[in-house]
């Protein structure tokens, strides 16, 4: 799957549940591995931290106990980056999980908010808006009750502003989940 908000594009590929190497094997649940490959250069620390965030988010959603002693590998390739990369990765990951048919407790989506220096909220910012912003917040929001699965921020903001961003993100999540539904419906109605 390859969601592309504006010009940011991430391609997700999923393998699994499949055989896992001995050291990584978990006896009661599946091992989830996330690999994020940047477009230019070798994967660095930033990619590793993003991978961990994605892994933890996916682990809460995937019913891993149904496939013990297996490995689920999620590979994300950045095709182009024009801002809001992390939320694009989250969306790609979820659609990949959905498309692969893995058992999930709920869907999730990623929304990025940037806070202007004068306090207004910008959803889904471009790279330039991200750079000029005072704070950039990314939330992973689940589909059942719009709860927050994970949140990561860069920069400083007050608690109220964070609450406001969160509410705005939850609103945006509705749009994204509708998009998931439409695209899945389209896929199955035509093939």
């Amino acid at each position: 799957s390859s969601p592309s908000p504006g010009d940011t594009s991430v391609l997700a590929g999923l393998y699994g549940p499949a055989e896992v190497k001995g050291s990584k094997e978990l006896s009661d649940r599946a091992t989830l591995e996330v690999l994020l490959r940047p477009k230019v250069g070798l994967p660095g620390v930033m990619e590793r931290s993003r991978e961990q965030l994605l892994r933890r988010t996916c682990e809460t959603v995937v019913l891993r106990v149904l496939h013990p002693r297996t490995a689920i590998t999620l590979v994300l390739q950045v095709l182009s980056d024009a801002g809001s990369l992390l939320s694009c990765c989250l969306n790609a990951a979820c659609m990949g999980l959905l498309d692969a048919g893995l058992p999930l407790t709920s869907l999730f989506c990623g929304v990025t908010c940037a806070l202007d220096p004068n306090g207004s909220i910008v959803l889904d910012p471009t790279s330039r808006q991200e750079q000029e912003a005072r704070a950039v917040l990314t939330f992973a929001i689940d589909s059942v009750e719009r709860k927050v699965l994970s949140a990561t921020t860069k920069g400083s903001c007050s608690v109220e502003e964070m609450q406001q961003c969160l509410v705005a993100a939850q609103r945006a999540a509705d749009t994204i989940f509708q998009f998931y539904r439409d695209s899945v419906r389209r896929k199955y109605s035509k093939s």
Binding site: L35, K39, V75, S80, A172
Partner: protein
């Protein structure tokens, strides 16, 4: 993950089919699969699809000091990566033979053929030159990665634009894309690899082998040629013994194929150039959805954020921030008392507490109930009273400011005060406590 090995009956089937000049996908011996080239929004970014084999190429540049033994030449750096999504057998971080072979072939094909003019990449001799970096990511492996990679490489290099530079005496100015249009690299010729797979000890050959065919082949011959019929690289691997006229025949076939491919590349580059000039939409977001039936595209959607502030305030008001809660000290044993229930500390690990606060303030019904417990008696009734009441007027002189609290709506002016969040809730809580105090006296 381990790749599943090819079964014996599959091998036998493929070899028998090749003997009868049949291929699994119905192609002829010298037919290429469909090649599709699409470009990204950035210069130097392209995706090449050879049948189902997909390769992403990206070129980037940087100003660096040159190599000491070549002070007037720019630096070219090639990196081929087998993405784990390409095939189950590709694992991250493992230098497999295939990867090494690919890297070497691409380097020889593009660097040693001198298709890119490195002298033009020099800015200040001995001090600053351009380093051009080409990253090729194999996204899907369905055979013949070499050809696809070489096409992706040369297309990306042709498509790339580097920032314009001007040198005036000692001063070097690098212009941003907004100031001056970026400049293309100077490319002399376009070498393209063509692979030939050999079967049955060199008796049969196939052009552009698919993945299954690659598994059963004896060996492969790769010839890189440009449209002027100059052989740039030739490599035979797999240990097959080839006769001279076989090699000559292959080179003739290569000439034909390369001519076709070069034409296709030129057309693709021209199309992209045209679209960019006319200001039309370009990039993967445009090209990918139109080609797939399973793709879905949606324009930007507006999100209604009008009532965000009010809703956020409601949520904040409903839940009680932990630091505001002070219960009666609970006496456990003489000398040991506990103040507060110790739910969470607002000075803990910031990320955690933010998340917890967010989770707590999602509007759980427990929060107001908890708030009630910690205060004095008869909570719920008074709370609902205050909520449904008309504006409450405080006539007490204890409070200097008269604050009129509308139910469900907090006045905006209180937000400008310091520690406003706690003020908001405390005003409401305070109000209730005051009411009870008055009632008690």
């Amino acid at each position: 993950m381990k790749a599943t090995p090819v079964s014996n009956c599959e091998k036998r089937f493929l070899l028998r089919a090749i003997e009868e000049r049949q291929r699994l996908d119905g192609r002829q011996c010298y037919d290429y699969r469909n090649v599709r080239i699409s470009f990204g929004t950035e210069y130097g970014c392209c995706i090449v699809e050879l049948g189902k084999t997909r390769i992403l190429g990206q070129v980037s540049c940087e100003l660096v000091p040159p190599k000491p033994n070549r002070p007037t030449e720019g630096i070219l750096f090639f990196n081929v990566e087998l993405s784990p999504m390409a095939a189950p057998g590709f694992e991250p971080g493992r230098q497999s033979d295939l990867l090494v072979k690919l890297n070497r072939l691409i380097e020889r094909c593009l660097r040693n053929s001198k298709c890119v003019d490195t002298e033009s990449l020099c800015v200040v001799a001995g001090e600053k030159v351009w380093q051009i970096r080409l990253d090729l990511h194999v996204l899907n492996h369905d055979g013949n990665i070499i050809d696809a990679a070489s096409i992706a490489g040369i297309v990306a290099l042709c498509h790339f634009r580097r920032p314009d530079v001007s040198v005036q005496g000692e001063e070097v100015t690098v212009y941003t894309p907004e100031e001056r249009d970026p400049v293309p690299l100077s490319i002399h010729h376009m070498p393209i690899c063509v692979s030939f797979a050999f079967f049955h000890q060199g008796t049969y050959l196939l052009v552009d082998p698919s993945e299954r065919e690659e598994c059963v082949m004896d060996g492969v011959l790769v010839i890189a040629m440009n449209k002027h019929h100059e052989i740039c690289t030739i490599q035979s691997s797999g240990g097959i013994m080839l006769v001279k006229d076989q090699v000559l025949r292959c080179s003739k076939i290569t000439a034909v194929k390369v001519a076709e491919m070069t034409e296709l590349i030129q057309k693709a580059l021209e199309n992209d150039q045209k679209v960019r000039k006319e200001g039309g939409k370009f990039g993967f977001a445009e090209s990918i959805p139109n080609q797939k039936i399973t793709a879905f595209k949606r324009g930007s959607a507006a999100v209604d954020t009008n009532n965000v502030e009010e809703q956020a305030e409601e949520i904040i008001a409903k839940a009680e921030p932990p630091s505001e809660v002070f219960a009666k000290p609970i006496l456990h044993t003489p000398g040991t008392a506990q103040i507060g229930e110790g739910i969470e500390n607002s000075w803990g690990d910031l990320e955690e507490s933010e998340r917890e606060e967010a989770a707590e303030e999602e509007g759980e019904s427990e929060a107001p109930a908890f708030e009630c417990q910690t205060m004095e008696t008869e909570e719920t009734s008074t709370m609902s009273e205050t909520k449904k009441d008309e504006p409450i007027v405080l006539s007490d002189s204890e409070e200097e400011e008269v604050v009129i609290l509308e139910p469900q709506e907090l006045p905006k002016k209180t937000r400008t005060q310091t520690n406003s969040k706690q003020e908001n809730t405390s005003k409401k809580a305070f109000n209730k406590r005051r009411k009870k105090k008055r009632a008690a006296y």
